[in-house]
Symmetry: C2
Subunit: 166 residues, 2 copies
């Protein structure tokens, strides 16, 4: 039987080993545009320049996962950070792990993000592909374009898979 | 009496002199994440490297403008592109003009964007600060951080102001 993975609330402190939480809470703010706009400033560390990489803006459209969800693989992008921000106000899930050459499964964590929270993975952070709860959810994504091998995937042995329940 | 500025629907073709429209329609797509996610790929040309600039991710929270709206100033960012994507599904407005040292007021145009459309101003494009119609609307913004003077503002003489009506 697969081991359960606890679901934690997403916060900047809890996510610190993996990257940034993109949200207005706690941000540096500037009042701009003749007082009609608040700028919540510089919410993620975009780090995409390795091997001549450039930042890209894309939209990811993800369909709902079935729960309980079996975590059977993780991936990472060694050459660049990857930021996600939801375009509709539904909770979603973030699964990450520490580890250098391989994900260390004992460090795997699952965070439940609110619909007004995005995240930014640092380069090389192991993570599961998008896990959404709504039937469909779009995200603005800022990641790296350019040459070089920027995707590594690792399958997890069935006996080591983790199970996420709602 | 101020001259009326026509409101046009936003499209990639119409906006081409000013930058990119960020939207899924017409995008290059990739099916990723074991078929659970569609990536609408590389939707805007991020151009922020001048004078050592770096890309930033911020959130702008704008309050509604009163209409009819008098366009009395324009601004531009000579050192970097600036991308906006709405985080809630309300229409919003984009006012731009061509011009090198000064905005050429005869070229001013106003586009009504849908809530699933973002835009990316190329460096140096004259534009009005955010114009939202909802009481409040948040946007993900990708623009330039770094040294250098990246903001120019121009007031428009009262006789030359343009008026935007809903």
């Amino acid at each position: 039987m697969s081991r359960a993975l606890a679901v934690e609330a997403l916060s900047a402190e809890a996510f610190q080993p993996f990257g940034d939480v993109i949200m207005v809470q706690g941000a540096e703010t500037h009042l701009i545009n003749q007082g009609t706009t608040t700028r919540f400033h510089d919410l993620a560390n975009i780090d995409v320049g390795a091997q001549g990489g450039v930042p890209l803006i894309s939209i990811f459209r993800a369909v709902a996962r079935a729960f309980p969800l079996r975590i059977e693989m993780l991936e990472r992008h060694p050459l660049g950070s990857q930021a996600f921000f939801p375009l509709s106000d539904f909770d979603w899930m973030v699964v990450v792990a520490e580890g250098a050459g391989q994900p260390e499964l004992e460090t795997m964590r699952c965070f439940r993000a609110c619909g007004d929270q995005g995240i930014n993975y640092r380069p090389g952070i192991w993570h599961h592909p998008l896990v959404v709860l709504a039937p469909s959810q779009d995200f603005i994504v800022v990641d790296r374009g350019g040459k070089g091998d920027n995707l590594e995937e690792r399958q997890i042995l069935p006996a080591d898979a983790r199970m996420v329940s709602l």
